[in-house]
């Protein structure tokens, strides 16, 4: 038995919103106790209150979550100032929540330890993980390196927490704690089937430039000029615009990955991007359009559906990039509607707009940190 319940409220009042969300979940659960849950909440809510109410309703629940740049679910579809909660019930699987605090101090080691200590509590083999990570204070790529040390080739899915385009502080939730600079993870073990799909939609345009000075995820120079000049050249602005991430071609590679700016330093002219960049990479500015963004979402969902090995999925988790939402603007709901047309109407789904998405490139490959992608994770048994 595997049961998933979803609640979603767009009431700006924190207490009203969590009560409404829990009420919807309780009706769906029909008396079954959830083992674990994920909460996605917009930036203006009283998080402590939300967590306290969830823990009061479901004591000992293995709960993780984080702040977002938009929420999406099968209940209210796309919302911008809402909370959505997904709860998991099963007697065949084990789900445990893991926490790594002050992750910026030693991202690799803290991420590794957070998984190692929680792994001990599981009796069944781990199948996959869902994680929500801090992205403003540290390198997401380093956190994934730590996960990799603890998990090997076990796939990890999720996203980097967001703060509605403010780039000041994001939050992670663990059980009843509200944290920043942390990494939270749900480890799924036992009889559970999953599949995933991932697609982008951004294309490199303009001339190719060389990254001439970089330290991990801080680009100091492009073509021997301050990195900020690159954005000034293209956008005529003194700061980078995350909607136009960089296409990064590592040395001797013809395929690219995307890296968006998360902060910058006017004094040094440097740009801090969402993940590490190899030295001597070629970079190009990128662009997309609404049609390409929506087509990519559909591709992602269709790919996950095609890869699903069970009878039919019983839940979907969706992780979409905040920059995609920025491109979609007032038509952001079309992204959800485009994939809703491909799924069964009753499929409970839940997700959030992130500052970076996490998934392997292939079914059982190494996990990578992505930008501007739409990630679909289907679950069932």
């Amino acid at each position: 038995m595997f049961k998933v319940a979803v609640g979603h409220s767009n009431d700006p009042d924190s207490l009203e919103a969590i009560n409404e969300t829990l009420e919807q979940c309780l009706i769906s659960l029909g008396g079954v106790l959830p083992q674990a849950g994920i909460l996605f909440a917009a930036i203006d809510f009283d998080y402590s209150l939300l967590l306290q109410r969830i823990n009061d309703t479901f004591p000992n629940i293995e709960l993780i979550g984080g702040s977002t740049d938009g929420e999406v679910s099968s209940v209210l579809e796309f919302q911008q100032d809402s909370i959505t909660l997904m709860l998991f019930c099963s007697d065949e699987i084990e789900i445990r929540a893991a926490i790594g605090k002050n992750v910026s101090q030693n991202p690799v080691e803290i991420a590794r330890q957070s998984i190692e200590s929680t792994k001990q509590q599981l009796t069944l083999p781990i199948k996959f993980c869902i994680t929500m990570i801090e992205s403003l204070t540290t390198s997401a790529v380093s956190i994934l390196q730590g996960f990799d040390l603890a998990l090997g080739n076990i796939p990890i899915f999720g996203g980097a927490t967001a703060d509605q385009w403010r780039y000041k502080q994001t939050y992670q939730f663990y059980k009843n704690e509200v944290l920043s600079d942390a990494v939270v993870t749900l480890l799924f073990a036992g009889n559970i089937v999953f599949s995933h799909g991932r697609s982008g939609g951004w294309r490199p345009i303009g001339k190719r430039s060389l990254v001439t000075k970089v330290d991990k995820n801080i680009i100091y120079e492009i073509d021997h000029k301050p990195a900020l000049d690159f954005y000034y050249y293209y956008l005529n602005i003194d700061e980078p615009d995350s909607v136009y991430p960089l296409a990064v071609f590592p040395p001797n590679e013809e395929t690219f990955f995307l890296r968006g700016a998360i902060s910058y330093d006017k004094n040094t002219g440097s740009i801090t991007v969402s993940g590490d960049i190899p030295e001597n990479s070629i970079v190009q500015i990128t662009d997309t359009c609404l049609e390409d963004v929506i087509a990519a979402s559909q591709t992602s969902f269709a790919e996950a559906k095609a890869n699903y090995a069970g009878q039919a999925p019983e839940a979907a988790l969706l992780f979409s990039c905040a920059w995609r939402r920025q491109i979609l603007g007032t038509r952001a709901n079309e992204e959800y509607q485009a994939i809703a047309n491909l799924s069964t109407p009753a499929l409970p789904s839940c997700g959030f707009y992130t500052y970076g998405e996490i998934s392997p490139l292939s079914e059982h490959g190494q996990t990578f940190f992505h930008n501007t992608t739409f990630l679909t994770l289907l679950l069932g048994n």
Binding site: E16, D81, K207, Y234, D241, V243, Y244
Partner: protein, 326 residues
């Protein structure tokens, strides 16, 4: 009462949501405007980039065209230079070769003159004896026959050289017997065969006749022989070259075969490429077979194929039309 409370609660909730949405839409509108403004700037810039690239590409295209023309000119000059070098080498070889029979003839003529002078003195002084006259007759007969054979050899060389040199320099079409002409070419270049290490056998029908460019064919045969002597044999190694001329309906087939080292399969596909050589240190230019290929396929309007096996030698098969098109 309860119903009213519920309605009020619902309205309050909707009011809260609408208020939040209004706030949000203001923020979103402003950020969307920024995004669109940036997009416009970006696209303008990218269009400028593209125009810049277009200018650069057009210039590069013109430069490449110019370079290609220069290279074609250079190639033609090199081909011409190669031809002249071959002709020069032919002149030097023939001059060297002709030196021996002519020099021998001079020595023999001088001997005959001395013997004749001695005979005249003997006759004038009345001292001529029968034995001395017999000796003179013997010497004169032997010397004159040696002079004749040496001058014949020199004449043969001059005749062949004259024909081949004229053909190579003039580049004119004419009717000629293929086997006989190849024999003349081989005689002309035989001085190149160090210490008579290489034996060249030419077989086939003497009467096969074509209307073509003999100079081009001479250059082809010269280049193939040069190629064999440079690549196919180790220093001081002897070799056999066999050239066979056959008739095939409207074509003449010339099979040129050496029994040398053969060509490595890894490079066999590149032997006709310009400037490709495995013997640059021995003075190879990498143009010989390239010129050969061009002469056969373009000037002589035929085809050339190469088959080779390591240790078993190399076979070039040349197919030429009986009559060349104008």
């Amino acid at each position: 009462m309860e119903e009213d409370e519920a309605k009020i609660k619902k309205l309050e909730k909707e009011n809260r949501i609408l208020k939040k949405k209004l706030e949000r839409s203001e923020i979103d509108r402003s950020s969307l405007e920024t995004t669109n403004r940036n997009k416009e700037t970006l696209l303008k810039k990218v269009i400028c980039d593209l125009q810049e690239y277009q200018v650069i590409l057009e210039k590069k295209s013109l430069d490449l065209e110019q370079t290609l023309n220069d290279l074609s000119l250079m190639q033609n000059k090199l081909v011409e230079a190669e031809k002249m070098a071959a002709l020069g080498s032919l002149v030097a070889g023939v001059a060297h070769e002709i030196n021996t029979p002519v020099g021998t003839s001079i020595t023999l003529a001088s001997t005959l003159r001395d013997e004749t002078q001695l005979l005249i003195t003997l006759v004038e002084t009345g001292c001529l004896k029968k034995s001395l006259l017999n000796h003179y007759i013997e010497v004169a007969s032997e010397v004159s026959s040696l002079i004749l054979s040496n001058l014949n050899r020199a004449g043969e060389l001059v005749h062949s050289f004259k024909q081949v040199a004229v053909d190579q320099a003039n580049s004119e079409k004419r009717n000629f017997k293929v086997k006989e002409y190849i024999e003349e070419v081989v005689i002309s270049i035989s001085p190149k065969f160090k210490q008579n290490l290489y034996k060249v056998a030419i077989t086939g029908d003497d009467l096969i006749n074509i209307y073509s460019y003999p100079g081009a064919l001479a250059q082809v045969i010269t280049n193939l022989v040069d190629n064999s002597t440079l690549h196919a044999y180790l220093p001081d190694q002897s070799g056999h070259i066999h050239i066979e001329v056959q008739k095939q309906t409207d074509q003449v087939i010339i099979k040129y075969k050496d029994d040398g080292l053969g060509i490595d399969p890894q490079i066999s596909g590149r032997i006709f490429e310009p400037f490709f050589t495995t013997a640059r240190e021995k003075g190879g230019t990498g143009l010989g077979l390239h010129i050969t290929y061009n002469l056969v396929t373009q000037k002589l309007q035929g085809s050339i194929d190469c088959e080779s096996e390591i240790g078993k030698g190399t076979l070039f098969t040349i197919a030429l039309p009986n009559t060349i098109n104008s």
